[in-house]
Structure formats: C-alpha cells, structure tokens
C-alpha cells in the first residue's frame, strides 16, 4: 500500500511536469503547473518534511500561481495569441537529451536508495552540536548557524533579483501593467479574514521555527502571499518609486545577517558565528521581512508599494 501511494505520487509528478510544458495551450500549462506545485507539497509531506511542505504551500499556492497568471495576461497583451501552429517538429536531439536526463536521474536515484547508511559524519556532528545553539529545529540550525553562508548569499540573491527587475523597468517611472483590483464584497470578506490570519501564522512560524518546523522562509513566504492578495484586491498598490520603508525592508535581511557575521570578527569569533538564540530570532525576523517584500515586488513588477484605495 505504501508503495502504491509513493508510485502514484511519483507518476503524478512526472505526468504533471510533462503536461505543464507540452501542449500548445499556455493557460492550461499554467494551471497544470499550479497543480504540480500542490502535488509537490503533498510529496514533501509524504517524505516527512513539514518545513518544505509549508514553504511549497505558501510559495506555490500563494505566490507562483498568481505570478504566472498575471505574467500570462501581460504576455498576451503584448503579443496576442497567433493562429495555431502545426505540431512542433520532433527533434531527435531532444529525444536523446530526454533519455540521457532520465538515465542520469534514475542512476542517481538508485545510488541514493542503495546508499542509505547510518546518518553520516556531518549529520552526527550536527545532532551533537545542535543543543549548544539553543535550537531544537535542525533545519533552522543548519540554515542560520552551521551553514549560514549559504543563507546570507540566498537573501542577497533575492535582493539582486529585485535589482534586476528595477534594471528592466528602467527610469521610465512606471510599473508593469497591473490587472484591475478585485473589490467585490465577498473578496473583501476574504481579505478581512486571511490578511490578519496570515500575519498571525507568519509570526507563529517565525517564533516556533527555532524548535518546530517553520522559520524565516516559511514566514516570509506566507507574508508574501498575503501581500499578493492585498495587491490583487487593491489594498496595496504598485508604485514606480520605492519609498524608504520599502528600501529598508529590501535590504534589512542581508544587512542584519551580514552585520552579525562581520561584527563577530571583532570579538575574535570566526566569520558568521552566531552569538546566541536571540541573534537567531533577530536575523530570522529581518530575513522574513526582506523575503516578503522582495517576493511581493517581484510579483507586482514594480519598484515600490503604496497604500491602496481602501
């Protein structure tokens, strides 16, 4: 029975990935991709990884789905759909590459299945070192303390992505085209329930992330999805200029994390040593803010945010 469940999920993922990309109907592909994200969240749940399932749920359901929809609309505004092409020519190179990729993935999978051993050196060292940090969640431990160089750079990459959007928008002082805000009363009811609840859940995830599944990424993704909701319903507006709050929020994650890392050098500690659990909370809060604001701006295709009509 377990095998049947796992095989179904695996087959479903492959089929969804295929259907997202194949076929000529772009909108259908987008819906397939959204479903793929949902099934991926189920996959992480099946693999016993609540942190990943939460992140996938927040980003896949909230942010990416809406982003693709709006991107599709903007694309069609620029280049209306052309009359149907005949089926794309079959490429022998494509088939060969597909077979090769499948072979590589299968080989890696088989090797991984065969190689499951007792935890490994890094894992054991992590388990031993974790209590000293005051954290109970090993994932948070790795992200913020043990391998935090990766995390600092990841937050910096988000900032770089925002700068890339700014570069594309240029100095024209405009945002990308925005779809009309949805202001129906029922939608307002949803916003009234979901927005405060999102903030509550985000703070909860941030707080418990040190000892339960959760953390800055999940919290930031939830806030970003809430922000997407506010943008779509007119409570927030995309603006062509970034105000001081927006600018501050964008950089606070990288800056706080980097400052901690460098400051510890002055005390004789190694680079990016974290002085205590209080530092973890501070860093994670800063990261959450940056992640949320950056994702919201990437969705809106704008330089900044402003108050909406209501």
């Amino acid at each position: 029975m377990n095998l049947a469940v796992d095989l179904s999920i695996a087959a479903g993922l492959v089929v969804l990935a295929w259907r997202s990309l194949a076929g000529r109907d772009l909108f259908r592909g987008i819906v397939m991709y959204i479903v793929f994200g949902l099934l991926l969240a189920v996959t992480w749940a099946r693999l016993g990884s609540p942190d990943l399932a939460m992140a996938e749920a927040a980003i896949g359901a909230g942010v990416t789905g809406a982003l693709l929809m709006v991107a599709y609309w903007r694309l069609r505004r620029i280049s209306p759909a052309e009359p149907a092409d005949p089926s794309p020519r079959r490429s022998h190179l494509a088939a060969a590459v597909a077979l090769l990729s499948t072979g590589v993935v299968a080989a890696i999978g088989l090797a991984a299945v065969g190689a499951i051993g007792p935890g490994g050196i890094a894992g054991r060292a992590l388990v031993e070192a974790l209590p000293a940090t005051g954290l109970g969640n090993p994932i948070t431990g790795v992200l913020v303390v043990f391998r935090n160089l990766d995390t600092v750079l990841e937050v910096a990459v988000l900032l770089a992505a925002y700068l890339a959007v700014r570069a594309v928008l240029g100095d024209r002082g405009e945002t990308l085209a925005q779809p009309p805000p949805q202001v129906a009363r029922l939608v307002g009811a949803l916003v009234g329930v979901v927005a405060p609840l999102s903030v509550l859940v985000a703070v909860y995830l941030l707080r418990v992330g040190s000892y339960l599944p959760g953390g800055a990424f999940q919290a930031g993704a939830v806030l970003a999805a809430c922000g997407v909701l506010l943008l779509l319903t007119g409570r927030l507006r995309a603006t062509a200029d970034a105000g001081p709050w927006v600018r501050g929020s964008l950089v606070v994650g990288t800056v706080v994390f980097g400052l901690f890392g460098v400051a510890m050098l002055a005390f004789g500690e190694p680079l990016l040593a974290i002085p205590g659990t209080w530092a973890v909370y501070l860093i994670e809060t800063a990261m959450m803010v940056s992640i949320a604001v950056t994702l919201m701006l990437l969705f809106a295709g704008a330089a900044g945010l402003g108050g909406g009509r209501r």
Partner: protein, 104 residues
C-alpha cells in the same frame, strides 16, 4: 477497534464517498456551472467528514481545533473561489441548461 476508531473510520469512509461524488460531478456534468455546484458542495462536506474523522483519531483537542479552523477556511476559500469562477463563466457566456432560473 474502539468505538472512537469505529466512528472515525465511518466518517472517513463517508467523507471519501462525498469526494467521489464531487469528482464524478466534475467529470460528468455538462457545463462549468453545474460542475462548480456539484464540486463545492460535495467537497466541503467531504472535507468536513475527513477533518472530523481525523480529529477523532488524533485524540487531541488542540489538533481537532486546528482541523476545524482549516475546514472553516476551506469553506471561505471555496465560497469565494466558486463565486468568482462562476461570475467569469457567466460573463463569458457559458451555456446554462436552465437559463431562465438563473438570476442575473
């Protein structure tokens, strides 16, 4: 099997049956509006029974309360989603079987 487990099993099975009904409606009904109608009603009740069954199995009041919250939010999300999708479907001129009964 205790009485609680028996009750929970019953709820889960009936909930699954409701999900099946919703899926059949999705696949077999003739147009978007009737599919939407079948889907949202059946799925909401199905989710209620699944949540109730799982809540019983968990044996923990806090978890059961979380399940209740999840169901209520699902209700809210399904209501608004169905409303929005139906509005678009009507605006796009979906053929309605009993058109004269649909309030404009």
């Amino acid at each position: 099997m205790t009485a609680v487990e028996l009750l929970a099993t019953g709820m889960l099975v009936v909930g699954a049956a409701f999900y099946l009904a919703g899926t059949i409606g999705l696949l077999r009904f003739p147009d978007a509006l009737s599919r939407l109608h079948a889907l949202t009603k059946a799925d909401n009740v199905g989710l209620l029974l699944v949540c109730a069954g799982l809540g019983l199995l968990s044996g923990n009041l806090r978890e059961a309360a979380l399940l209740l919250l999840i169901w209520l939010l699902a209700l809210l999300a399904a209501t608004i989603s169905a409303h929005l999708i139906a509005r678009r479907a009507l605006a796009d001129g979906v053929e309605v079987e009993m058109r004269e009964r649909v309030p404009r």
